[in-house]
């Protein structure tokens, strides 16, 4: 039978299903976000949700088109696609249309196209092609330089368009390099130090402490080569916190969240020390030392920031980190977004019952801040479900990437996962005040044809490659 060679047979339907679910959820949330009594029909193409449906249908056609292309096309023309995209990025600087201060759009008779969106999969293709070359050895300095150039050219062109958010996405390819053999320790230590520094400034002590606790647990797991131990540790930690929170509520002690977490940490440190002593686990001491060391760094970074730096230096950092708390000015969006999500409670206000998003308190509510509608109308349960669906998709993509016979396909697959990951993490984090406001869309959710099509093409090229995973593509 020819069946085993059929695209439809080999297509990864799990990913397709997740894609369809997410696109559908995005669509009904756009409907909820801009819903008003005057325009109730979800099919009204005068409204954003009506248009989004058109984008979705068109996107599915695009996906089918991508699937009908021979997979060898992508390996053969990876560099060409990359080159054309670079030309478009240059061209848009001269003949593009300016929207919201970013000169990033081509307009062809009502349809807007953003070359920066194309650059994501084009760069991904080029990187996959480059790394999968037989003679390419990633640990060489020359190799690093080539890879950095491939990334930096589109990134810099996008920065010139005044769209820093989209440019930052390209940093995420380091994870792909890591998977392909880049020296892990360099990545790990560089990343940790930078992250700790930024997080110390960005998060309040409460969030940071939770973050460090989880990091410590994860590190413990790595050192012990165990998944079970950090999981148990996390369970105990969360259990203790919920118990203390419950006691505090029932007894009406009125402890601040910070006080609760300090008590939790202290109890768990004692438990961990006891575990270390009785089970002779030497790593316990290293982890406790690591935790204390990290806390010290975070406290001293804050001290340095507030007592050593000049005010204008602080301002600059605040602007970069989006830390200026100006609830009515620059911070207005985030504050309103947090109010919308926070007011959702556990199960949310119900479909179309959200008041914050519906009455336009949240700006950009159907594009960059679409997650607010999820949080407000579907509550913690709904928001967690959406985050969970995204995580499932990412894990599925990694799994599918790992089963590729061809390195090209695997690299491209990791690229897709990492690009999606960056968008999801940053977009959701900014709506809940965890990340500075960087104007990047939530994949499959945010309103807009250009980004939906770009993500669709990005994803379905990988699915096309996967459908011929038995071939060795280079």
């Amino acid at each position: 039978m020819k069946k085993s060679n059929s695209i439809w047979f080999n297509l990864d339907w799990i990913t397709v299903l997740l894609y369809l679910i997410l696109v559908f959820l995005g669509w009904i949330n756009i409907y909820a976000a801009v819903y008003s009594d005057e325009h109730q029909s979800i099919l009204d193409i005068g409204q954003k949700y009506g248009k989004q449906l058109i984008w979705i249908v068109a996107g599915i056609f695009l996906a089918i088109m991508v699937l009908t292309i021979d997979s060898r096309f992508f390996t053969a023309f990876a560099y060409h696609i990359y080159g054309i995209t670079i030309l478009l990025l240059v061209a848009v600087l001269f003949i593009g249309k300016e929207v919201n201060g970013a000169k990033a759009w081509f307009e062809f008779g009502g349809i807007a196209l953003q070359p920066a969106e194309l650059a994501k999969f084009a760069t991904n293709l080029a990187l996959a092609k480059c790394i999968s070359q037989f003679e390419f050895k990633i640990q060489k300095l020359r190799s690093y330089i080539i890879l950095i150039v491939i990334i930096l050219v589109p990134a810099l062109l996008i920065i010139l368009q005044n769209d820093t958010g989209s440019a930052l996405v390209f940093a995420v390819f380091v994870f792909v390099f890591f998977r392909e053999g880049m020296n892990g320790m360099v990545l790990f230590w560089g990343f940790s130090a930078a992250a700790l520094f930024i997080l110390s400034l960005l998060l309040d002590q409460f969030d940071l402490t939770i973050f460090l606790l989880i990091i410590s647990l994860a590190a413990f797991g790595v050192l012990r080569q165990s998944v079970k131990e950090p999981l148990i540790g996390f369970g105990v930690l969360a259990g203790t916190f919920i118990a203390i929170w419950g006691i505090d509520n029932v007894a009406g002690l009125g402890g601040t969240p910070m006080q609760l977490i300090i008590v939790t940490t202290a109890i768990n440190a004692l438990l961990l020390i006891a575990y270390g002593i009785f089970r002779h686990v030497a790593e316990v001491w290293r982890i406790i030392l690591f935790f204390i060391f990290a806390v010290c760094i975070s406290v001293s970074v804050n001290y340095f920031y507030s007592n050593v730096m000049e005010p204008h230096q602080r301002d600059r950092i605040d602007q970069v980190l989006g830390r200026k708390v100006d609830k009515l000015g620059k911070g207005y969006n985030v504050n309103q977004s947090k109010i919308a999500i926070g007011s959702g409670g556990i199960i949310g206000k119900g479909f179309l019952k959200g008041t914050q998003t519906k009455y336009n308190f949240v700006p950009e509510q159907s594009t960059d801040f679409i997650f607010c509608t999820v949080g407000e109308e579907w509550g913690f349960v709904g928001a967690t479900t959406v985050v969970g669906l995204f995580l499932l998709l990412l894990i599925r993509l990694v799994t599918v990437a790992e089963r590729q016979r061809s390195q090209f396909s695997r690299i491209y697959g990791y690229g897709v996962a990492c690009i999606l990951f960056f968008h999801i993490a940053i977009n959701v984090s900014m709506t809940i005040g965890l990340a500075p406001v960087i104007g990047i869309p939530l994949p499959f959710f945010s309103y807009g044809g250009s980004s939906l099509w770009a993500f669709t093409i990005l994803l379905f090229i990988f699915l096309r490659l996967d459908a011929s995973r038995t071939k060795n593509l280079r």
């Binding site: 994870f175 890591f178 998977r179 392909e180 053999g181 892990g184 969030d207 939770i210 973050f211 989880i214 994860a218 929170w245 969240p257 009515l328 309103q336 947090k338 109010i339 919308a340 999500i341 926070g342 007011s343 959702g344 409670g345 556990i346 008041t355 914050q356 009455y359 336009n360 308190f361 949080g375 509550g379 913690f380 928001a383 967690t384 985050v387 969970g388 995204f390 995580l391 990412l394 894990i395 990694v398 990437a401 790992e402 990791y414 996962a417 990492c418 990951f421 993490a425 959701v428 984090s429 809940i432 005040g433 965890l434």
Partner: protein
């Protein structure tokens, strides 16, 4: 085959870790922290307040004393402001540019999203002009308010004024909030709850532009505004106005009471002011001016100031002696050993019985009466305790008003007071003799004096003097107000003796030239109060007619030289006007003299009073 395939776990771990952080954060802001829910409610709901019209106040004959007039506040929502022609706007509303900019900045610092008033109490004329031009000024809107209006500019002290609530009031009473108005003095304050009505509150769902999208929960939480109730005052507006005219140029007060009901007909304090000064945009300027006036026009002297009562007090002294049963038949000489040390100031037949002593206002008689009253008990202290108790029963030296704002109690010195100065047992009737003729440490308010006369006119009771007789809703009278009746039993015959004495004062005594009216028996008593700081004060108390009295009055003129000089003519003119409707031609010169006399410009200002 692949050296690094285990790294997929690290990458999956990273994805999971970030997801976990997001979920924990979501749990924190959605489940643990409730502050966002509160913010969300205030974001979406707009409380709209519907201010009911404040009740109006009538005089006892249905004449309007206070009514409402529309005024307009200009509000801005800073977020919606666009640049506009400030100069022409300032011209429209009559403010200068720096003031406008200052107000706009204040509004911005309060909130960029909530409206705040920047120009208050715009007149109807300005409103009419501004409304046509308003489309040029996005972010500006107008809110209607009502202002108090006073058709005859009288009774400023009685009516009081309305002002914006301050933080202290807001903290103390949950009904009020920023921008609300409240009665700050007088009837406006005492009857605040009836006058204000109940403001209505409706909750509207709004979007970020404050545009109303519908009512909240179908108006389940909305409350309707209840219009303020109207008050019928006890004042007689014409008589009040006449009293204020008679007081012009003098510092003093008039209190006239209808004895049978305790209703205050006139309550005038001079100098006074136009109650309309406290309304409108000049309000704070006017307020400061009145506050700094050395004659203290805002002080309601009729109920707040207390003075020595002088000879008018002899009536109370006599009543106590009659209650003890020691003055009915006794005669005291104004010469000889018993009279020492208080001698009579003028010559008359001697010794005198009580009625004649009242007519002659014989100091010597009333000192000896007082001595007998104090020595009626074993110890002087017991005598004073009983004397003071009797006075308090008569409503002298304590608050008696039913609904009076800023009333003070005056003071009758107690045993403790004298013990402090002279030591227990170190004093006797002689030491405190000046009380007998209403001088010395005793202080009473003009209100208490007029109430004392009402008690005598009623021959044995008084009703707490008050300013409001009824409350109306939609012009239908609600149940009328009840004020306490106080009985002071001293025997009807004894009251008649005092009444006869008072009749004698006007017929043949100190009041005969100034207070005697044709075919109407006025019963009165003069008082000339020694004043160490300047001219003596002039006091007169009276009621009329003798049988079935309709009016009891007290007039107190600071530095009025002697009782019959200002107080007696003023009191008698008011009685005449009230009971006869007009002033007899032969007495017209009194009216002219009173209205035109000016004591203030020649008066030395007393400080620290």
């Amino acid at each position: 085959m692949d050296l690094f395939s285990k790294r997929k776990y690290l990458i999956i771990g990273l994805f999971s870790l970030v997801s976990l952080i997001i979920v924990i954060r979501l749990f924190y802001i959605q489940v643990i922290d409730s502050s966002y829910k509160i913010s969300a409610a205030s974001n979406v709901l707009r409380r709209e307040i519907n201010y009911p019209a404040r009740g109006v106040i009538y005089d006892r004959n249905g004449k309007l004393l206070v009514f409402n007039q529309a005024a307009y506040d200009v509000l801005i929502t800073p977020r919606e402001l666009k640049s506009f022609d400030t100069l022409s706007f300032c011209h429209l509303v009559g403010v200068d540019k720096s003031e406008l900019i200052n107000e706009i900045n204040k509004a911005k610092s309060y909130s960029r999203f909530k409206p705040s008033p920047i120009i208050k109490q715009l007149s109807s004329q300005m409103y009419a002009v501004l409304q046509e031009q308003l489309f040029k000024y996005p972010g500006f809107f107008i809110q209607a308010r009502t202002l108090r209006q006073y058709p005859s500019k009288i009774a400023a002290h009685v009516l009081g004024y309305v002002g914006e609530v301050d933080q202290k009031i807001i903290d103390g009473n949950p009904y009020y909030e920023n921008g609300d108005y409240i009665g700050r003095s007088g009837i406006e304050k005492i009857y605040e709850e009836q006058l204000r009505g109940v403001k209505g509150i409706s909750y509207k769902m709004v979007d970020v532009h404050q545009i109303v999208k519908g009512s909240f929960e179908n108006g389940r939480l909305d409350t309707a505004a209840v219009i303020g109730k109207n008050l019928v005052s006890t004042l007689n507006a014409d008589l009040q106005s006449y009293g204020e005219r008679l007081l012009s140029g003098k510092v003093g007060s008039i209190v006239a009471i209808e004895p049978s009901t305790g209703e205050i007909l006139v309550l005038a304090s001079s100098p006074t002011f136009d109650p309309g000064l406290f309304v409108g945009r000049e309000r704070s300027k006017n307020f400061a001016k009145l506050l700094n006036d050395p004659y203290k026009p805002m002080l309601n002297r009729a109920v707040t100031s207390s003075y020595p009562p002088g000879s008018t007090f002899k009536l109370a002294n006599a009543l106590i002696g009659l209650q003890y049963g020691i003055l009915q038949t006794v005669r005291f000489s104004c010469a000889g050993k018993g009279s020492s040390p208080i001698k009579c100031t003028h010559s008359h037949e001697s010794p005198l019985p009580l009625i004649s002593a009242i007519r002659e206002s014989c100091n010597s008689f009333f000192w000896q009466a007082f001595k007998s009253e104090i020595n009626h008990f074993a110890k002087p202290a017991d005598g004073l305790v009983s004397f003071r108790k009797s006075l308090l029963e008569m409503g002298i030296g304590k608050k008696i008003g039913g609904d009076l704002f800023s009333e003070t109690s005056g003071s009758i010195p107690s045993v403790a007071y004298y013990n402090k100065y002279y030591g227990a047992g170190g004093w006797n009737a002689l030491t405190i003799r000046s009380l007998s003729i209403g001088q010395g440490e005793m202080l009473v308010t003009p209100l208490q004096l007029s109430n004392m006369v009402a008690l005598i006119a009623n021959r044995g009771y008084y009703i707490s003097p008050h300013l409001v007789r009824g409350i109306q809703e939609n012009n239908i009278a609600l149940d009328s107000l009840h004020f306490e009746k106080h009985i002071v039993s001293a025997g009807a015959a004894n009251y008649e003796m005092i009444v006869d004495g008072m009749e004698q004062v006007v017929e043949n005594g100190t009041g005969r030239t100034t207070a005697k009216l044709d075919s109407l028996t006025v019963c009165g008593k003069t008082g000339t109060i020694q004043n160490p700081h300047g001219e003596a004060h002039s006091a007169f108390v009276a009621f009329a007619p003798k049988i079935n009295p309709k009016i009891a009055i007290a007039v107190y003129i600071e530095n009025g030289v002697w009782g019959a000089k200002y107080a007696a003519p003023i009191a008698s003119l008011i009685i005449e006007k009230y009971l006869k409707g007009k002033i007899a031609p032969r007495r017209q010169h009194f009216e002219d003299a009173m209205i035109n006399s000016d004591l203030i410009s020649t008066m030395k200002i007393e400080h620290g009073d």
